[in-house]
């Protein structure tokens, strides 16, 4: 008993220490911010929100990392960043917001549509040995260079780093790919002059067939094939084949290998105001072959957005939607909002948050009278919410999409524009 009493004050003291300093702060969230090419993004400003509380400024640590806590008993949170850099011509501020729950992810990946660091690469190419070749096209990273000639120079940029690659194609006069190859192992930590490249009939592309797919009555359909190479090259053009919902050929590189990922997209649109639907399937290069796909998601019905600088978007797709992505573009500002269905928690609309009072976000919204373009995407995916929010992403024009071999995304989209009131 005496001993117990002697120990008790010590235990009490320790308890006090723990309750003072070790109070459970909740769930730590550590978002990752990347550029469009997946390189680490540089943050100009950041903010976060817990549940529907007010947004708080978030200061990066000395290494540029950001983190915050979602208190115990709460799960819904948001994080917003403004990134540094350029990608699209007219836009000077790139802002991205993710709103989701700790049950889905505590390490969401926020992709800014900004270019990362890069090095210039250049060289000469000759495709005159390819039967029927009328021109050459070259790609690396998010850059491309083409000429209406069968030989000549090219000037590209590659994402900074080692193990980069580039792709060269010979095409016919209508840009359909005839031959091509991947040049790997480029060390793009300094400007690169690539040894002369030539294509012959031995580099002929392999042809596969895309089956016909049905589209809603009165709609038109398209298919296309993109390539995301292991070394960071993006090819989004008709060189790999495109066509209507009647199906047709795609042309793939004979020397693509595991880690090079193709994305087949089939889509349908009813014309202006109807929105569109799409299915995107990622296929690892060795698994590429004839593909038969069909559209699996319903279109939005009667979707509209009321003119506002910070619009309120309907979030009412009837499908088994994992998340929505909303985009707002104006003269010099671009915003993307990625919002999980779990975060929406039954809400049928999503009101884009007002961050203009926070340092670094003040001038990032459209002015009255500016044109605003908006886009809504509802995503159904064959991956978990965690993967959806954490997977590497690939750029597609000014969008980014998660990428993984075997991933299938069904996407319903709507878009429009208005003048900011």
């Amino acid at each position: 008993m005496k001993q117990f009493i002697r120990w008790a004050p010590g235990a009490l003291f320790l308890l006090l220490v723990f309750s003072g300093c070790g109070n459970d702060p909740g769930t730590k969230v550590t978002p990752t911010v990347v550029n469009a090419d997946g390189s680490p993004g540089v943050i100009v400003a950041a903010a976060y929100q817990v549940e529907d509380g007010s947004w708080q400024p978030l200061n990066p640590d000395a290494d540029g990392g950001i983190s915050f806590y979602v208190p115990k008993g709460k799960a819904r949170y948001g994080v917003a960043v403004r990134c540094a850099g350029m990608f699209l011509m007219a836009n000077y501020s790139f802002n991205t917001v993710a709103q989701l729950t700790t049950a889905e992810s505590t390490a969401p990946r926020l992709t800014c549509m900004t270019a990362g660091p890069y090095a210039r690469i250049k060289g000469n190419v000759n495709v005159s040995g390819v039967t029927g070749a009328a021109k050459y096209q070259t790609y690396s990273w998010i850059s491309n260079y083409e000429r209406n000639a069968t030989s000549g120079e090219y000037r590209l940029s590659a994402g900074y780093g080692t193990g980069r690659d580039m792709v060269v194609f010979a095409t016919d006069a209508s840009d359909a790919g005839l031959a091509g190859k991947i040049v790997r192992g480029i060390d793009a930590r300094a400007p690169v002059t690539v040894p002369d490249l030539s294509l012959t009939n031995a580099d002929a592309l392999l042809n596969y067939n895309i089956g016909a797919f049905s589209v809603p009555s009165g709609w038109s359909g398209d298919y296309s094939l993109n390539l995301y190479s292991a070394g960071g090259t993006v090819v989004t053009s008709n060189v790999l084949g495109e066509g209507t919902h009647a199906g047709g050929a795609v042309h793939v590189l004979a020397d693509a290998q595991a880690g090079d990922t193709y994305m087949l997209s089939i889509s349908a649109s009813g014309g202006t105001g109807t929105g569109s639907i799409a299915r995107m399937r990622y296929v690892d290069a060795p698994d590429m072959g004839d593909i038969s796909e069909s559209l699996h998601i319903q279109p939005f019905a009667g979707y509209s957005v009321t003119a506002a600088v910070r619009p309120v978007f309907p979030a009412n797709h009837p499908g088994d939607v994992l998340a929505y992505v909303f985009m707002v573009l104006s003269d010099i500002n671009l915003w993307t909002y990625t919002v999980s269905t779990a975060w929406l928690d039954g809400a049928a609309t999503y009101a884009t948050p007002d961050l203009s009072g926070l340092r670094g976000f003040k001038h990032n919204y459209a002015l009255s009278g500016e044109g605003i373009g908006w886009f809504t995407f509802a995503f159904v995916a064959n991956v978990s919410a965690q993967e959806f929010f954490e997977l590497p992403s690939v750029p597609l024009y000014f969008f980014s999409l998660p990428k993984k071999k075997g991933l299938v995304l069904d996407i319903a989209s709507a878009n429009g524009s208005f003048l900011a009131p």
């Binding site: 100009v44 850099g85 900074y160």
Partner: protein, 427 residues
């Protein structure tokens, strides 16, 4: 006696408290301001500072985005470096530009230096229609804002511009003949560029004719060529750098000013000489309040740099050895693929050094990938500045942006500048 003892203990106690609580003199507080090309506060990607020749340290803005740090007592030399977000109008690869500005000076010169990034900042769009067909001889017109220029090949058409966000902005319309000589023009003031603005139609007639003045001939070093030009920096933030306002050789000639400019609108007359190989130059820039503009006779007042090469390096040592004792500061600019750096360094900071070693900030957060890569071409510029203004003003005044450079701007200010330039492939 007892009483006085008792009183003494209180101040001693307070003194002790102050010392214990860190009331120790922290030194001189420095509060740099970072602005964009229009003079608005600029968002920052990264900031660092340095005391004397110590290592550079990351500096975090406070909650309002303000910067400050202390230079310890007994020390005076310091540096501040910022990376701004956005691109410059002149070095735009439109991919991943970095725009970086460094100042290095002493606390005696300024404790509130103004760092100007050549980034555009927030913008509003302006649309309207101009008609200059009533101006005799007019073949075309131009419209200028603080950000943009619209060049029309006809005498009447719509225009579209962007302008820096803010109130009290202005635009300048200039009608020119087929040889681009300005004939008539005017300033349209009081534009509230808080929204996308549609301006009333602007019409120019012969009543808006430009006012002619004369620039006298000036001497240039033997074998060099000379030129002069007139620019305008309006009270509302518009810049007109156009030969329509008059430009010519060192033989002198006419300049043409707007009839409706007024106090607060500042003209800049520049007279320039450059060597036959174009690697060296000298210039005099005179800032003149609009009502004071008249015929001008000027001469070049600074000797050229001695010819000099710079050893190729990612962070070169740039020449800071101009012979003129009146030099207040040096400005250096380096450009490489996607990266722009501007350094302003005072003579007291250099403390006798004859070369300026460009600091290595690449290891600090936010400054990664702002350095040139091996194999890239670097262009460099070195300028020695003399001025009829104090060093404090040199570092604190608003800037007149002239191509790659940002010069202190104030009516009556006269800058004499010697320029060296070159380029090399980074090893």
């Amino acid at each position: 006696m007892k009483k006085s003892l008792c009183r003494a203990t209180v101040p001693i106690f307070l003194l002790g408290l102050l010392a214990a609580c860190g009331g120790k003199d922290p030194g001189t507080k420095v509060t740099p301001a970072v602005v964009d090309a229009a003079g608005n506060p600029a968002p920052l990607v990264a900031v660092a500072y340095q005391v004397e020749s110590d290592a550079w340290r990351v500096l975090s803005p406070d909650a309002d985005g303000k910067l400050s740090f202390y230079v310890p007592k007994g020390k005076t030399r310091y540096g501040v470096a910022v990376r701004c977000t956005g691109t410059t109008p002149v070095v735009s690869s439109l991919m991943n530009d970095s725009v970086n500005v460094v100042v290095q000076l002493t606390t005696e010169e300024s404790t509130a230096p103004r760092l100007t990034c050549l980034t555009p900042g927030p913008l509003a769009s302006l649309t309207g229609r101009a008609d200059v067909s009533g101006v005799t001889g007019a073949a075309k017109f131009m419209v200028f804002s603080g950000r943009d220029g619209w060049y029309s090949r006809s005498t009447a058409s719509g225009y579209y511009l962007t302008a820096p966000y803010g109130t009290g902005r202005d635009v300048v319309v200039l009608a020119a003949d087929t040889s681009r000589k300005g004939l008539a023009g005017k300033l349209v003031r009081g534009i509230s560029a808080l929204n996308s603005v549609s301006l009333p139609d602007i019409t120019l007639t012969n009543a808006d004719a430009l006012v002619n003045h004369n620039v006298a001939a000036f001497a240039v070093p033997p074998g060099w060529s000379g030129k002069y030009s007139l620019s305008l920096y309006t009270a509302g933030g518009t810049t007109v750098r156009n030969q329509g306002l008059g430009a010519g050789s060192h033989a002198g000639g006419s300049i043409r000013a707007f009839a409706n400019t007024q106090a607060g609108d500042i003209y800049m007359l520049g007279i320039y000489a450059s060597s036959s190989t174009n690697d060296r130059g000298t210039m005099r820039l005179r800032f003149i309040d609009a009502p004071d503009l008249g015929d001008i006779s000027e001469s070049l007042q600074i000797d050229p740099f001695a010819p000099r090469t710079v050893a190729a390096a990612a962070r070169p040592a740039l020449p800071a050895n101009h012979a003129d004792e009146g030099v207040l500061a040096y400005m250096f600019v380096t450009t490489s693929t996607g990266n722009f750096w501007m350094y302003t360094v005072s003579r007291p900071w250099l403390a006798g050094a004859e070369a300026y070693a460009v600091p290595d900030l690449g290891g600090l957060y936010g400054f990664g990938h702002t350095q040139p890569l091996s194999g890239e071409t670097m262009d460099w510029y070195a300028m020695a500045l003399k001025a009829n203004i104090s060093p404090q003003k040199l570092f604190e005044l608003p800037r007149a942006i002239d191509y790659y450079f940002a010069f202190p701007r104030e009516k009556g200010a006269v800058l004499d500048i010697a320029l060296l330039q070159g380029s090399f492939v980074v090893p």
